[in-house]
């Protein structure tokens, strides 16, 4: 082996080792600052982590675009929906008087909120776009209470990193605390100056306007705060990756 070849080999090795060390350190820092999504494993993990990490750094304090009242779509799209379960129909028959939103997990005071209790908080509204991953979109006025208000009420423990939310139809999803405490993340009970129709997720829907429509889960009945998504489903953060869809839907 000639000297220049050996030198080249040593240099390549040093560069590779530095690169690996750098990647390791970057991964630890990213984990520390919540830049790694729960579905970061697998063949699409690299792209998913880059997207989530970069968008989180970019959007820490950003607000979803709000629109003038004149831009509200004439008709909010009622999307495809599975037929309602028995439990839902029973509550619907009672005018949703017995609908409860349970909040548990890493909170100081677990609680269950009725719809009148949620409506008793100061009403907030936003005129934002719901964009579906399929490509269509509409603009509506979403009326409700910021999720942060409810979370303040129950007292979130400092180690909590995610809010897991469940629909009465069995669907579940989660968002990080950045989105959970975001001023535009709402528990929505009204749409365009009327009650939120069942076709659009009524009586209660979680609205996450900086992400695509499928993160805005309909018929929400439970919130669970946790520091790790490992013990939920397959540990991928929501049901979406189990169906092949990404947990993070900011793009």
């Amino acid at each position: 082996m000639t000297d220049p070849t050996r030198r080249k080999l040593i240099r390549t090795g040093a560069v590779a080792a530095t690169g690996l060390l750098g990647l390791g350190a970057a991964s630890r820092i990213a984990q520390r600052y919540g830049l790694i999504p729960p579905d970061s494993g697998g063949i699409y993990g690299a792209g998913e982590t880059l997207t989530y990490g970069c968008q989180r750094l970019l959007t820490r304090h950003s607000l979803a675009r709000e629109f003038p009242r004149s831009m509200i779509s004439a008709r909010p799209v009622p999307n495809e929906m599975a037929p309602p379960k028995e439990a839902f129909k029973r509550l619907q028959a009672g005018g949703f008087a017995d609908w409860r939103l349970a909040v548990d997990g890493m909170v100081e005071r677990p609680a269950a909120f009725s719809l009148p209790q949620l409506r008793a908080y100061p009403t907030h509204s936003q005129i934002t776009m719901l964009a579906c991953e399929e490509g269509w979109s509409y603009i509506a006025e979403w009326i409700g209470v910021p999720l942060s208000q409810v979370l303040n009420e129950v007292g979130v423990q400092p180690q909590a990193k995610f809010v897991v939310y469940r629909s009465i139809d069995g669907l579940w999803d989660s968002i990080d605390m950045g989105d959970a405490l975001h001023p535009q993340t709402f528990l929505v009970y009204g749409l365009n100056d009327s009650e939120l129709p069942v076709a659009n997720g009524g009586p209660l829907r979680l609205r996450v306007p900086r992400q695509l429509g499928y993160k805005s889960v309909k018929f929400v009945t439970q919130l669970t705060l946790t520091d790790s998504m490992k013990s939920f489903g397959k540990g991928l953060g929501s049901m979406s990756p189990e169906y092949g869809y990404s947990w993070y839907a900011g793009i």
Binding site: E48, S137, S246
Partner: protein, 248 residues
């Protein structure tokens, strides 16, 4: 018999041309990484389009509004009125994952290529039209050579080739990335101008689709031209990097 083969045999033998490295390792590597990324993007992009093969202008658009245009194909969602009596299987999950992963590959590869092209002067030397090419006569002769499918006589890129590469590298691909990001509700929350300048989310989606068709057209013409100009020598140049025979 006076066919072309006997003519060339009668010519004095020229010594074998020395191995010429036409493209640097970086240009060859980024070319094929971009090829992989483009193939993944176009396939997954098509899968995403069939979940809603309708296009709109402005901010909003959905099955309850009038489209700008429709693609007359079946859809992978049963809410979309297509006129077909069946629904295609939903492929959006992995398509979205792969689309964005391939987009990252394209962006990072593209950055490497751009920096290299600027630093080495490759863009100025080989893509910017030469002074002699800045004339209507050069332009019209380049057009007529293309129309007659005349094989190139020099290694240097001709005028139309230069303009096409510049258009793809500096206009079509950046526009595709921009319109893609403009559809991201999270990205536009931080950079609202990205979508506002395009006229809205649906305008961005429509432009993204039309631009992808132009890019696909470029790739098809590019491959045709490579075959026409000498597939083996061009593939050698873009893979192992050297060409010795088959002229330019």
């Amino acid at each position: 018999m006076a066919d072309s083969a006997s003519v060339s045999i009668s010519e004095p033998a020229t010594p074998a041309a020395p191995a010429v490295s036409r493209f640097s390792v970086l240009v060859r590597t980024t070319h094929w990484l971009t090829t992989v990324a483009f193939f993944a993007l176009i396939v997954t992009g098509f899968e995403l389009v069939i979940s809603h093969p309708r296009f709109y202008w402005g901010e909003t658009g959905n099955i309850l509004t009038t489209p700008l245009f429709k693609i007359p194909i079946p859809s992978s969602r049963n809410l979309v009125p297509t006129g077909y009596g069946y629904v295609l299987p939903d492929q959006n999950g992995w398509s979205r994952y792969l689309h964005f992963q391939a987009a990252w590959l394209l962006v990072l590869t593209g950055l490497l290529y751009l920096i290299n092209g600027l630093v080495t002067g490759r863009f100025r030397r080989e893509l910017l039209p030469a002074k002699s090419q800045f004339s209507w006569q050069a332009f019209s002769s380049s057009i007529s050579e293309h129309l007659r499918l005349k094989r190139p006589e020099t290694r240097s890129y001709n005028l139309i080739q230069r303009l096409s590469y510049i258009g793809v590298i500096f206009i079509l691909i950046p526009l595709e990335i921009w319109t893609g990001l403009a559809m991201s509700p999270s990205f536009v929350s931080a950079v609202p101008a990205a979508v506002n300048l395009l006229g809205g989310t649906q305008s961005a989606r429509t432009l993204h689709f039309l631009d992808s068709l132009l890019l696909l057209l470029f790739v098809l013409v590019h491959v045709f031209m490579v075959i026409r100009a000498g597939f083996r020598s061009r593939m050698r140049a873009m893979t192992i990097g050297t060409t010795t025979t088959e002229g330019p």
